[in-house]
Subunit: 352 residues, 3 copies
């Protein structure tokens, strides 16, 4: 598996560059880009895992989510610059659905095939539940309902205000987790102990270098991938919304997918859940509000107003994830339920 990924990267990366220079067919390039990203994601997963062993499960999980979302932030800034507001909101929606339902679902399902029950910190699950409800059900629903009678200027003022509050609360959450309430989570200590027995695959320095290079390569390839979407969409009959929400979610979050599932398979559910839910929170409470504020400096500003199908999908995904995860354990059926919800939304976005 690791050797296959290495071969894919060392073939895929040069082909990505050569193909884009010689203008190969978009469908062929699309497949090359996707495979290369998935292979690079394997390296990111292994590097993150090595770092996670050294740094502990929570910091490792946060690291993971950051490196996964850096790619999305970069792509979104380019799209924003080009005025493609609809695609940015769609791809962020896709990231939320992909992280909660697809990454979360695959982690629970794959881990559950190996272990009868897997458990994770109930304190983290409840802490995260409050933030998910806050971000998606308060901060996204309120502007949707309130701005229906507002003009564009007031809609943007409300959006900016809510974006600032989201960022402030996100920073407060980091303060809570790493300063005022550090180490209050019993589960971690137990896990850390068992983890220190393992040896990391790579040393700290080597892991950081590989992580940085692989992330840069993923960003480079992702950007080119995006430019093939219109032709691929026309070829396969996929709408822009479907590409933004489903394809970007799967390929753009491949790094998280890979590492979350590896963690789940190794029974490190705290890390897997941290990747799925932590990444969702980072997108909703940090990446999206940053993009709303950045859009003020571009020609087209982006309000915090989703389409109704996007919003309802996120709201129902949050309610399902909270209901399933707030008992602090998981099994294959819970994973399958999340995956089934993802497929239902996929069908919906395909036909819309």
């Amino acid at each position: 598996m690791n050797k296959l990924f290495m071969i894919l990267v060392f073939i895929g990366l040069p082909l990505s560059i050569i193909g884009s220079i010689f203008h190969w067919s978009a469908v062929i390039m699309f497949i090359i880009y996707c495979l290369t990203i998935i292979a690079l994601a394997g390296f990111i997963g292994r590097a993150t895992e090595s770092l996670a062993i050294v740094l502990g499960p929570r910091v490792g999980g946060l690291l993971n989510a950051t490196f996964g979302n850096a790619v999305e932030l970069i792509i979104s800034i380019f799209a924003l610059k080009a005025g493609l507001i609809g695609i940015v909101l769609a791809s962020l929606t896709g990231s939320v659905l992909g992280n909660l339902l697809l990454v979360g679902g695959l982690s629970f399902f794959v881990g559950g095939l190996k272990y009868k029950w897997q458990s994770f910190s109930i304190y983290d699950a409840r802490h995260n539940a409050g933030m998910l409800i806050f971000a998606v059900i308060v901060a996204f629903v309120i502007p949707e309902v309130f701005t229906q009678t507002l003009n564009d200027r007031n809609t943007m003022i409300v959006s900016v205000g809510i974006a600032v509050i989201l960022i402030v609360l996100y920073l407060a959450a980091l303060l809570f987790k790493f300063v005022t309430h550090r180490g209050v989570y019993q589960t971690d200590n137990v896990q850390n102990e068992s983890k220190h027995e393992e040896d990391p695959e790579w040393g700290k320095g080597k892991a950081i270098i590989i992580l940085a290079l692989a992330t840069a390569a993923v960003a480079y390839v992702s950007e080119h991938l995006v430019s093939t979407f219109d032709i691929v969409g026309a070829t396969f009959g996929w709408s822009e919304l479907f590409i933004g929400i489903i394809i970007v979610a799967i390929v753009g979050n491949a790094a998280e997918h890979a590492s979350a599932i590896i963690m789940a398979y190794k029974n490190k559910m705290d890390v897997a859940v941290e990747i799925a839910v932590g990444s969702t929170l980072q997108i909703t409470m940090f990446v999206l509000p940053i993009l709303v504020l950045l859009s003020l400096f571009f020609s087209t500003s982006m309000p915090l107003v989703f389409t109704w199908p996007e919003l309802i999908s996120m709201v129902t995904a949050v309610l399902l994830m909270i209901t399933i995860s707030n008992d602090g354990d998981s099994n294959w059926f819970e994973g399958l339920t999340l995956l089934a919800a993802y497929v239902i939304m996929g069908i919906g976005f395909y036909f819309i």
Copy 2:
């Protein structure tokens, strides 16, 4: 009580046949049919209870839900054949509301009058909560929101896709409960032990025969009951929606009502909750999707799209039931809350 039921059946059944032959007044037949069904439900309850003692609480509960819903499935197929899509969706909505709020509420209330606190498996409650959210809040809400801009053909494709996923997940839930995670529920073992001390009223063979005959008789009478609805509705000023949602829910689920309340009164809350919630899950994840697929073979196909009042009623009923039941215990006030919610929805459907 048992004697009264026996008398009612042996008078009611012949009168049902005679009355339908000689075309007696619809209102009189309506009363005869209702009383006969309720009396038959008493037999079903006793037969199921006997079987439940022999087979254990979960299989007994499943059995119960199956025999209750077989009646609804048969009635719905006849209605579907006649193209009465609105009445089918209304009566399934009524079954969901009736099972969650009326059966669940009466069980909690009646049981709570006798016992200060009653407890049931918290693992089952949480497992069921995930499925309720999945079925009603994901699988029913998504097509409602997504198909508003779709044409009839695509609406039907989305409905069929979601119906297939619901059935697959329902079968996976049976696999989870009876194969991969059988016997993981502590509560059962404890209950089974205490239950084996009781003697069943009827032997296994006799109970099965009575169950089969009574169910067949309920199906026969129910079908004739339905044909009186238009005249009764006109006589009492009840709309078709109100009859579908309230009257069908009460009479059609009389079997579940009777046995759930008997179980609650005997402090077997695991069985009572299994009937109320398990029956809801069977209707939403099995009966309804089967009907959507079957409707493809009839002249009018039935999409998975409820009216807004129907959908909102089910969503709020699910949220209320989950909030009330996820602590694993019940009391009379929780039962009264569920009943009050049922009355509020009843008032709404009466005037709509």
Copy 3:
């Protein structure tokens, strides 16, 4: 602090009377009224606390909520008499949001600054969660969705029916709490013991007299405060909805704010939560339905139908509060999350 409040009251009350006689500027009177009410609230808080020590945390909390909401009931009746239905519904919405998010948030936040974790009865939290879902998500959502196609007369019939059910369930909740299930809450007994060690500031008689006088004074000043709203609104550019929901919520609930925060700071979280959530339940299940029934005797009757922004705000506030409080403990971050939700809704109502 106590001396400052005493000075404020003995200067503010005479100035309130003199100013209203000599028709001073509305903006100046607005500031005098606000400060006087906040100072009076300090006395109410101290008197309630003295009584709470004598009578136990639950009765103390109920007492608190009653005295806070008596003011709102009186103001609402005057507004109803003047036909100002929109302002009554807005100010009740504001009370719900203010109690759940502002009082609850400040209690959790201020208490959390002093204590790392604070805990309260998980049984109460879950009992209250069921009632919050019932009142806001069933009893308020159903008429909103169902009455959209009804005429005014039927809308009013549905409203009256639901109002009666709300009052019946509220009385049943009192019966449950104080008669059939009195003293089932473990936490109380523990708390009561530790509380009996404290000496109340004032004796029972003195506390009752101060409570009665201060409440009467708050009612007097509040009524005059309301009459300044139109001029103050015009001066500062505040809409009627914003004044009803935000200003009335802050000043009208100042008494609850003061005592809840004092209780939280003294680590009596059971009382603080009882004030925030108990007061919300009293408004939604008692004050509002009483007003609906009373409105039948006035020229304009008030249906139980909120505007969509009002309803969605309450629904999301309830979901957030339940998610945050159902683990039975709190910290500063949970408080900040509730406050952030309040600010987001405040921004929304300001621009709407």
